[in-house]
């Protein structure tokens, strides 16, 4: 196990779920309950020092019990190291802690995740849709059950039989 993942596991033995290292990327999965503490630790601990938020992403695994995966990617500018922090949320209770109070940039990134995947963020200051229109009611486009070509409402449009002259 990579030493960064090892440190997370040693500090949070209860919240640690798993870790992988593939193609040089270290990734740590933690439980939803400890997510905020782990993030705070990653940001504040001098050995970790992850001060730069790279992006927030989300993955939909429809067959899994905990369907949604939220992925944060952090970089430590002084230490030049990268870590990926992941957590899972089930569809019935689709909410995870927001990290906007630790990294300011998480604001827009988490809004995008909410907009695209429908994962809610606890304590987010302004959780609204960002790319889709505010009154969009057809669901969350990046979920796997959202059809690629839309939900078919365009097929219900009236078409003219002939071009009127």
């Amino acid at each position: 196990m990579h030493q960064l993942a090892q440190r997370v596991q040693d500090t949070f033995p209860a919240g640690f779920v798993s870790s992988t290292e593939w193609r040089g990327d270290v990734s740590v999965t933690v439980t939803r309950e400890t997510l905020h503490e782990v993030a705070q630790f990653l940001h504040d601990d001098p050995g970790m020092d992850f001060d730069y938020i790279v992006h927030v992403s989300s993955v939909d695994w429809p067959d899994d019990e905990e369907r949604f995966e939220v992925v944060w990617e952090f970089y430590a500018i002084r230490k030049r190291q990268r870590i990926r922090l992941k957590t899972r949320a089930p569809e019935s209770d689709c909410i995870v802690d927001s990290l906007t109070d630790i990294w300011k940039g998480a604001d827009f990134m988490e809004r995008e995740v909410y907009d695209m995947m429908g994962i809610r963020f606890r304590n987010h200051p302004d959780l609204r849709r960002i790319l889709m229109p505010d009154d969009y009611t057809e669901g969350y486009p990046l979920r796997k059950d959202f059809p690629l070509r839309g939900k078919g409402w365009r097929d219900t449009f009236d078409f003219l039989d002939e071009v009127p002259r």
């Binding site: 906007t100 990134m109 695209m116």
Partner: protein
């Protein structure tokens, strides 16, 4: 907001005329102003709702998504090769660097080694693209403020490079020249000649741009001390590229995580001090000189060799073989229609585009299509800091703020 900014209160009472505070008859009211979606200086379709107190910005709320095309969803439906033309349309001003960032991400996923010559070609073209991007930025940013002349000069020189791209790959803007594992075609002698001529022609022109802008008192007054962001805040917001380096953080992936031919070249990363629009301008102009330096070194060091990795299960066959050889044609057809078999896994690969860190987060479950592809676009993340950076400034400074980020809405909304 979780982070309160005190700058807004600074301007409420004019310190030289404190009596203005006690004028009882004046009714004050916050004014909401919609700027955009169609506005010439928003560089695309972007709407910002400005809350004004007089002419001061109290709060600004960017409304994004007018150019949302669902590129991430489209990626899940196509093979890895098929997605390359989509990346052109992200940051349509600088297509080459988007291709580059995407191909690097897929190469990391597939663990591909790109041949040396291809790495040099990639670096040269990427730096040419950086010059184009910075020229475009310099011209339009000055134009937004009202400095018309430099716009023409920048676009005149940009045109030379766009024609060069045209000769290289047949397109000026939507290039799609990079391929997974290499590049589409090699330089011809004529291209090399033209590039060398341009390298001699260009540096004096940069001096010209500088003279045009820095002797313009209005332009200087509207950039110095405007949109200041501290290093700590810039890092916390996830700003990248010249926008971050303007605040004094030397975060540049070309140096931090060297890739392609950059580790073999000597160049410096300009870093600002004050974190204002002027410093960010200065960094971009200095990067023009650095790009010229990098291209020169690459041209000197470049040796003959293959331009595509030889992994037939992943990389495309050379074009001339496709037209003459049945097996190569089948290989090309299968790679584009079915794709290659990617191993299951998850990677993130960031590349220093001229706007900032352009990254691709790819989740693969095996097979020819990405399971999830997330684009980390610098423009989107820079817009996250817009409200914070604009507070307390004049309404006219909102325009220079779009300029200072170098936003392109195609990339911001994806």
């Amino acid at each position: 907001m979780a982070f309160e900014d005190q700058r807004t209160t600074v301007y409420k009472v004019d310190p030289e005329h404190p009596e203005s505070e006690s004028l009882p008859t004046l009714r004050t009211e916050e004014l909401l102003l919609n700027m955009g979606p169609q506005h010439p200086s928003t560089h695309g379709v972007l709407k910002v709702i400005l809350e004004l107190e007089g002419e001061r910005l109290v709060k600004s709320t960017p409304v994004l998504g007018f150019l949302h095309r669902g590129v991430e969803k489209l990626a899940e439906d196509g093979t890895y090769h098929q997605f390359i033309p989509h990346t052109d349309r992200l940051d349509y001003v600088c297509a080459m660097y988007n291709n580059f960032a995407y191909c690097r991400a897929v190469e990391k996923l597939m663990n591909l080694q790109v041949p040396d010559r291809a790495e040099y070609l990639r670096t040269i073209v990427a730096e040419v693209q950086r010059i184009i991007g910075h020229q475009f930025w310099l011209g339009t940013q000055a134009l937004d403020i009202g400095a018309m002349t430099v716009f023409f000069y920048c676009f005149r020189d940009r045109e030379i490079l766009l024609d060069w791209f045209d000769e290289l790959c047949g397109a000026r803007l939507t290039t799609s020249w990079y391929r997974i594992g290499g590049v589409e075609r090699d330089f011809t002698p004529s291209l090399l000649d033209k590039l060398k001529k341009f390298l001699d022609y260009f540096p004096p022109k940069i001096d010209e741009y500088i003279v045009f802008l820095e002797t313009n008192r209005i332009w200087v007054a509207r950039t110095k001390g405007v949109a200041v962001v501290s290093a700590e805040d810039a890092v916390s917001f996830g700003l990248s590229g010249p926008t971050l380096r303007g605040s004094g953080v030397d975060y540049d992936l070309r140096k931090y995580e060297p890739y392609s031919a950059y580790p073999k070249c000597e160049f410096s990363v300009p870093v600002g001090k004050n974190g204002d629009t002027y410093d960010r301008y200065w960094i971009r102009v200095m990067e023009l000189y650095e790009s010229v330096k990098i291209i020169r070194q690459c041209l000197e060091q470049m040796q003959d060799g293959p331009i595509m990795a030889d992994v037939p299960s992943v990389t495309l066959p050379p074009k001339e073989r496709v037209f003459t050889n049945l097996e190569s044609m089948i290989q090309q057809f299968k790679l584009f229609s079915q794709g290659f078999n990617a191993p299951p896994g998850e990677i993130y690969c960031g590349t220093e585009a001229h706007k900032g860190e352009l990254g691709f987060h790819i989740v693969s479950t095996g097979g020819g299509k990405p399971y999830r592809l997330k684009i980390r676009s610098p423009s989107f993340i820079h817009m996250g800091a817009f409200d914070y950076m604009s507070r307390g400034y004049m309404i006219a400074d909102a325009i220079t703020l779009f300029g200072t980020y170098d936003i392109v809405m195609g990339e911001c909304d994806r």
